[in-house]
Symmetry: C2
Subunit: 436 residues, 2 copies
Amino acid sequence: MEVSWIMERPVVNIGIIGLGVVGKGVLKILNDNKELISRRTGKEIVIKKAAARTEKTLLASGLPKQILTTDPIEILEDKEIDIVIELIGGYEPAKDFIEQAIKNKKSVVTANKEVIAKSGYDLLKLANENNVYLRFEASAVGGVPIIASLYRSLTSYDIDRLMGIINGTTNYILTEMYRSGVSFSQCLKEAQQKGYAESDPTKDIEGYDAAYKITILASLAFGAKIDIDSVYREGITGIDPIDIRYADGLNYRIKLIALASKEDGKIDVRVHPMLVSKTHPIANIEGVYNAVFTEGKGYGKLLFSGPGAGSLPAASMVVSDLVDIVRLYGRPYIEDLSYNHFKDLPILSIENTKNAYYLRLRVTDKPGVLALIANSFAVHKVSFASVIQKEAFRDDVDVVFLTHETEEFRIRGALSSIEKYPEIKGVASLIRVLKD
Amino acid sequence: MEVSWIMERPVVNIGIIGLGVVGKGVLKILNDNKELISRRTGKEIVIKKAAARTEKTLLASGLPKQILTTDPIEILEDKEIDIVIELIGGYEPAKDFIEQAIKNKKSVVTANKEVIAKSGYDLLKLANENNVYLRFEASAVGGVPIIASLYRSLTSYDIDRLMGIINGTTNYILTEMYRSGVSFSQCLKEAQQKGYAESDPTKDIEGYDAAYKITILASLAFGAKIDIDSVYREGITGIDPIDIRYADGLNYRIKLIALASKEDGKIDVRVHPMLVSKTHPIANIEGVYNAVFTEGKGYGKLLFSGPGAGSLPAASMVVSDLVDIVRLYGRPYIEDLSYNHFKDLPILSIENTKNAYYLRLRVTDKPGVLALIANSFAVHKVSFASVIQKEAFRDDVDVVFLTHETEEFRIRGALSSIEKYPEIKGVASLIRVLKD
């Protein structure tokens, strides 16, 4: 009885391009939860074709041979395929595949943060024009359904501020550096051994991954077109265990923070390490976990947290996008996410952002040096919240400053003016401090 | 130009019943964010009629006199009204109003947890049959969009476990008791003065409010019909500052926890105070803030947190439901939340649930008493994780036990067998302990 009832459900054909970590997760979910998903959508999802780059990957998928191909064009041009799931990652050729699928009137689900961050607006416009859906929940904060919350649930007010830890690899490394006290490169090596960092970790540790994600989140939150090249970005490769220790003593943690805010029509969006007070809830987000805080007039402070990556968490969001489109399938098109919502808004340059700063200078251990620094900073209108003399290194000494909030160009001006003095051996660290 | 463009948008007429705290918030949002909402929905929302119980409330709303009424029937029977927002709270007559609106082919948005917890299934069925929408995001965890996440984003797996702090009043009182060390009744009085507790606080402090909410959340998470009467419920009126202090010493906080889990097809759903390890993220949810953790195979642990109540946070979720329906308005009906998803599942009785326990006994300070207790507990197969002798009270002494996990009927059996002994002056406290 049950079986014949299922057979009567309308069929929706999908094609999957990319059978890596997330792709395998999607196959597993569609297989394990077939009945659950069928009940939820009222339709039956059939994998019509699956593409991967190598025969080996294809065969390892366990899918029937006759639906496997190494040529994604077969999926993009298959007239019977209704929805394409793109999971190959990277900008090209993924962007072309998505574009081609949309032009061929197929809805698309993607987990591709780089494509969405760089070309999301154009692709969404193309999807709107072709009356198909483009969904990308897994493209930011992997297993956490924040994208749907932004464009579907947080619709009655604008969002003013968004902030979080949105890269699992760097948060894992910083957590381990804090716990063990060892160097960045040592922790990176361990993260690679444990599979938390890729063999080429550049995108994670240099902050590109987080920059893609905050661009996507900020675009949705503010209804803004954001050029990824205008997003300020610093990674964690320069974080010294000494600074983690000094910050600890001041009751702070160091985290790679992505933040975005809108004020007076200008958008401030960036990724860089920050000192975070231990009393701030984000300080307790450890390891590969991610968290995003949103704030908006009327909403109060909301927190969304969960696994930032991982095969099944990310795949579960891909499948939830798929379920969403399948539910809508065969009905008049609803533009619930329209490219029209996104306007050009000016981006604040990093020099004009306001921050408090943690500053570590290595100076000659002589009388008068502090006065010299204090004078230079006063000229540039930077004032200190606290000054702490730290460990000595032969004739030199580390001095740590916490400044009050000021524009970044002022602190940069102050630093370049003191660097001329021979007593100043170097600016060892300059890290921004998160306001509570 | 802008104006004429707006005027061309299709109009959706709404009626609002109830202009209390949340109702006023809804009016404010619809007024302040008219253009934003119109842009997001592609339609213009017009308040056709508003009802409240008293003339005074009506006039205070600032709405034009000609759309005000003290008779909700006028809204329910107005053929031009497309969507009804019900915000009067309480079971009757709210449930009748919602039913009537649906029968008259109007979609309904409600923030009414009692109605949804008790009659959600029947009302959803009625809405499905009448091809109208019933939305209730603000009915559980006020300003946090968890309901939409449950039925729209967490669709690729079942959820196995759901747990949280979902009543702001009790969390505020417990936070204050912890900070100040004063009694429950004193903290309640202060909460009432500050507007965090109602003049009749029964629904909050006895756990009814949290029971309604966890019933709604668990129903959605598990796809289950849950009879509210089978949900075990304990409030916080019996929490003694001594226990908060003792728990603190053991590195625990006491919180009112709502939890729901599904195992072997049986549902365990309940509300009661619990000891929560200070290292658990939920221990840091303070004051009127709420938080819900969800767990499911494939999803990992997700956390949703934000203001549990408040005029604008709750109203923003009501308006987001409204935006959602308005977007769909005038198109073929989509049953994205079908009563068909909800199945009868057996509920585990509290006696058969498994918990670890915090137990405070007042006993005569004599040799042999501990042996007597230990023997009785051993007979009932309850084993201790730790035993701590606490303060003396004349000839008596408080002894605090933490047990290993066991079925509740065993600890109840053990307690009733020792209560017979004259050396046992009383079971001062029995509080369940949350597993990490």
